[in-house]
C-alpha cells in the first residue's frame, strides 16, 4: 500500500516536472485584424490545453511584412511563428526558410483545408503554412439602390452590367457614388485590384519567357474601362482610396457597389458600424466572358521559421489555431458570423455557418479563383493578384504608382503603360529572368 502511494506520488511529480520542463513560451508575429485579435483573446484555451504560453507581436501589415522578412532572411530567431500570406509562403518555402508542415496530426485533418488555400500555401506539393483564414473578393452592393435603379444584380455579373448599374445608381446630389474601387498605389492595395481585374480582360503580367505584357491590348482595355467607369460613377479622389477608405464610404451609404475582400462582408453587415447593414447584397466579382473572373485569392496563414528552437510548441499552436475545434470555440463565444472564414471545407458543410448571409458567396468566390491558372493566356507564375516571385512586390508597387498617377489625372494611360513595360522589363532583366 505504502509502495503504491510512493509510486503514485513519484509518477505525479515526474509528470508535473515533465510538463513544466516541456512548457515553452512562443513568440508569434501577427497582423492587426479582427480575426487575429480575436485569436489573441482566446489564447488561454491553448495554454490550458498544452501548458505553453504565448507572447504576441502585433503589427500593421506592411510593418509586419518588413519585420518578418528581415528576421527570416537573417535567421534572427525573434519569432517562433510568423503570420504570412500566399505571396510569401511559396517563395520562402522554396528557399528553405520555413518548416514543412507535413507531419501534422491525424486529428488535425489536413485534407479538410480548402484545396485552393492548400495549393497557394504549398511549394512542390508540401504545405509550408496553415491557413488561419482565407478570402477572395466579391461585389457588395446596396439592394435598395439597385432596386431604385430598376436593375437586378445577377449572381455572376459582367463588367458591362456593373458599369451600367454604377451609372444608374450614381446620385451626385446626394453624394452617392455608383461604384467604389481601390485606386491607392501599392502592390497589395490598388495593385492587387487592377491585377485581378486585368485577368478578366485577358491580360497577364508576363508571357512564358518572363517578358512584361503591358504593351498588349488587354492591359489598355483594362485601364480604359476602369478609368472610364470610375470617372463616371466613382468617388472624387479615388486614386488615393484603399480598403479602409472605401469601407468608410460604403458604411456611410456613399457607395452603390464595392468590389473588395470578402472579409469586408462582416463589417458592412454589422449594424454597430454600418448605416446600411440591412440592405447589402453579394455577388461574384465580374467577368468579361473570357473564362476568368476578377476576384483574387488570399490567405493569412501561420508558418514556422526554420531554425526556431521551439518547433514542437509552434506546431501545437498552429494545430490549435487552425483547427475545427478553434472554429467551434469562436462560434460558441462570438457567434458563427465571426469565425475565421475561407480555410476549411467542413466549415461550409456546417448548416449553422451556411445561415450567415455571405457564407455561400465567400465560398463560391474562393472556389472560382485558381492561383495556378489565373490568366486567360498561359503565364509562368503562380498567384491571382500577384506573381509569386521575390521581385514582384517591388515591381508591382512601382507599376501601381504609375497607374495611380493616371487615376489622379497626372498622366495618360499610354504613358503609364509604357513606363510600366519599361520598368518591369528592366527589373526582370536585372534579376536574370530575361
Amino acid at each position: 500500500m505504502k509502495l503504491r502511494s510512493v509510486l503514485r506520488t513519484a509518477t505525479a511529480v515526474s509528470l508535473i516536472a515533465g510538463s513544466a520542463a516541456y512548457a515553452e513560451n512562443i513568440v508569434i508575429a501577427t497582423v492587426n485584424n479582427g480575426d487575429m485579435i480575436r485569436m489573441q483573446g482566446l489564447t488561454d484555451d491553448f495554454t490550458s490545453k498544452t501548458g505553453h504560453t504565448v507572447e504576441w507581436v502585433t503589427l500593421e501589415e506592411n510593418v509586419l511584412r518588413q519585420r518578418v522578412t528581415t528576421d527570416i532572411t537573417t535567421k534572427g530567431g525573434a519569432f517562433d511563428i510568423m503570420t504570412i500570406g500566399m505571396y510569401e509562403t511559396p517563395i520562402w518555402g522554396a528557399n528553405g526558410w520555413l518548416v514543412p508542415l507535413d507531419d501534422l496530426s491525424e486529428e488535425y485533418n489536413v485534407d479538410d483545408i480548402l484545396p485552393a488555400m492548400a495549393g497557394g500555401l504549398s511549394h512542390d506539393g508540401t504545405l509550408y503554412a496553415a491557413p488561419f483564414y482565407g478570402e477572395s473578393s466579391m461585389i457588395m452592393y446596396r439592394t435598395d439602390l439597385m432596386e431604385k435603379a430598376g436593375l437586378e444584380m445577377p449572381e455572376a455579373p459582367t463588367w458591362s452590367f456593373v458599369r451600367e448599374a454604377a451609372a444608374a445608381m450614381t446620385d451626385r446630389d446626394n453624394d452617392i457614388n455608383g461604384i467604389c474601387l481601390r485606386g491607392k498605389a501599392g502592390w497589395g492595395e490598388g495593385g492587387a485590384f487592377i491585377t485581378a481585374m486585368s485577368n478578366s480582360f485577358g491580360a497577364r503580367w508576363f508571357d512564358m519567357d518572363w517578358n512584361a505584357q503591358f504593351d498588349t491590348q488587354p492591359w489598355k482595355d483594362t485601364l480604359e474601362f476602369y478609368v472610364g467607369m470610375m470617372n463616371e460613377s466613382g468617388p472624387a479622389g479615388y486614386a488615393t482610396n484603399g480598403f479602409n477608405e472605401n469601407l468608410s464610404l460604403f458604411q456611410q451609404g456613399k457607395c452603390g457597389m464595392w468590389i473588395d475582400a470578402t472579409v469586408a462582408a462582416s463589417f458592412v453587415t454589422n449594424p454597430n458600424d454600418s448605416t446600411v447593414a440591412d440592405s447589402v447584397g453579394f455577388a461574384l466579382a465580374p467577368d468579361n466572358g473570357l473564362g476568368k473572373r476578377s476576384n483574387w485569392l488570399w490567405a493569412w496563414a501561420l508558418a514556422i521559421p526554420a531554425g526556431t528552437q521551439k518547433e514542437g510548441a509552434a506546431k501545437e499552436f498552429i494545430e490549435w489555431a487552425t483547427s475545427t475545434d478553434y472554429i467551434e470555440l469562436v462560434a460558441s463565444k462570438e457567434g458563427w458570423a465571426n469565425v475565421p472564414p475561407g480555410a476549411r471545407t467542413s466549415l461550409y458543410e456546417n448548416p449553422n455557418y451556411m445561415e450567415v448571409p455571405f457564407a455561400q458567396m465567400t465560398l463560391d468566390s474562393i472556389l472560382s479563383a485558381d492561383p495556378n491558372n489565373s490568366t486567360v493566356e498561359p503565364s509562368p507564375y503562380v498567384g491571382v493578384q500577384f506573381a509569386a516571385i521575390p521581385e514582384f512586390a517591388g515591381i508591382a508597387t512601382e507599376v501601381s504608382q504609375e497607374f495611380s498617377a493616371v487615376y489622379a489625372g497626372q498622366q495618360s494611360i499610354d504613358e503609364a503603360l509604357e513606363k510600366a513595360q519599361a520598368l518591369t522589363n528592366d527589373a526582370m532583366e536585372a534579376a536574370g529572368y530575361r
Binding site: V27, A29, V31, N32, N33, G34, I37, Q40, G41, E55, W56, V57, T58, L59, E60, E61, N62, V63, Q66, R67, T70, D71, T74, K75, G76, G77, A78, F79, G188, E189, G242, F243, N244, L247, S248, Q251, Q252, A261, V263, A264, F267, N272, D273, S274
Partner: protein, 276 residues
C-alpha cells in the same frame, strides 16, 4: 527705440498666431476627440463626430488587449538611457571641439551631421545581423546603444554650440586656480551650460521617445516600446480609428505632459546665447 504696435495690429497678430497654433495642434486634438468615440462614430463627418456620444470603450479595449505599462516602461528606459549615455559621451567631445579645436574640428562636425542624412534602412541588415551575433536583438540595452548613436551627432552639435558661448577665459581662470580637467568640466563648464544641457536632454528624450524605425525593427515581444504599441493598432483592412487614437493618446501623453511642463526650460536652452 521700441517699435510702436497698434492695438489693431496686435489683435491681428494674436489671431494669426492662434490660427497657426491651432492648425499645428489640430491633428493631436482630433486624435484626442476620436479616442472617446465608438468605431462607428469615428468615421462619420466631423460635425457628426463631435455631436455623437462620448465613451471610454476604446481606452478600456486597448488596456485590456495590450500591456501598456510594459511598453511605457520600455520607452522610458530606452529614451532616458540613450540620452544619458549620449550626454556622457558628447560632453567631452563637445568640450574638446569648443575649447581645443584642431584643423579638422569643423570637418568632423560636418561629417557627424552627415551621418544623419543616411537612410536608416540602408544599414538595417548589418545592424540586425550584428545584434543577432551580440545577442542584443529585442533587448533594451541594444536599443539604448543604437538610439544613442543615432542621436549623438545632434547632442554633440547642440552642446558644442552652447559651449562655444562660454568664454574660454573663465575656464583658463579655473585652470590657473588649480582645477584639473575633471574639475573644469564638472564644476565650471557644466554648471554654466546647465540650460543648454537641459534642453539637449529634453530634446533627445523626445527624439528617442518618438523614434519608430529602429524601435520597431530591432524588437519583438520583450523590449518593444510605445511605438510598437501604436503600430499594433494600425490596420489596412479594418477601421479601428477609435482604438488607434486611444493607443496614440496613451503613447504621446507622457511626452506631451513632460514637454508642457518643461517648455520654459526647453525654450531657454534653445535660445541660450542668442542675445548678448
Amino acid at each position: 527705440m521700441a517699435r510702436a504696435i497698434t492695438t489693431q495690429r496686435k489683435t491681428i497678430n494674436t489671431l494669426f498666431a492662434w490660427a497657426v497654433g491651432l492648425i499645428i495642434f489640430f491633428p493631436i486634438l482630433w486624435i484626442f476627440v476620436l479616442s472617446f468615440k465608438s468605431e462607428g462614430d469615428a468615421i462619420k463627418a466631423p460635425f457628426e463626430v463631435l455631436t455623437s456620444a462620448w465613451t471610454l470603450d476604446s481606452y478600456a479595449t486597448v488596456q485590456d488587449r495590450s500591456d501598456y505599462f510594459k511598453h511605457f516602461w520600455n520607452s522610458v528606459t530606452i529614451a532616458v538611457g540613450s540620452t544619458l549615455l549620449g550626454i556622457l559621451v558628447a560632453v567631452p567631445a563637445a568640450w574638446s571641439m569648443a575649447f581645443v579645436p584642431s584643423k579638422r574640428t569643423r570637418g568632423i562636425l560636418m561629417w557627424m551631421l552627415s551621418t544623419k542624412m543616411l537612410p536608416a534602412v540602408g544599414v538595417l541588415y548589418p545592424i540586425y545581423i550584428g545584434f543577432i551575433k551580440l545577442g542584443l536583438l529585442d533587448t533594451r540595452i541594444g536599443l539604448v546603444i543604437v538610439l544613442m548613436l543615432i542621436n549623438l551627432p545632434i547632442i554633440v552639435w547642440m552642446l558644442y554650440t552652447y559651449f562655444k558661448e562660454i568664454p574660454g577665459e573663465i575656464l583658463e581662470a579655473a585652470r590657473m586656480d588649480g582645477a584639473g580637467l575633471r574639475e573644469e568640466v564638472m564644476y565650471v563648464l557644466t554648471p554654466m551650460a546647465v540650460p543648454g544641457i537641459a534642453s539637449t536632454l529634453l530634446l533627445n528624450v523626445i527624439l528617442a521617445w518618438n523614434e519608430a524605425f529602429w524601435t520597431l525593427n530591432l524588437t519583438a515581444a520583450k523590449a518593444a516600446p510605445l511605438t510598437a504599441f501604436i503600430a499594433s493598432y494600425s490596420s489596412p483592412e479594418g477601421l479601428f480609428y477609435a482604438k488607434l487614437s486611444a493607443a496614440s493618446v496613451m503613447a504621446i501623453a507622457p511626452i506631451l505632459i513632460m514637454g508642457w511642463f518643461s517648455q520654459k526650460q526647453l525654450v531657454r536652452g534653445l535660445t541660450f546665447g542668442a542675445v548678448k
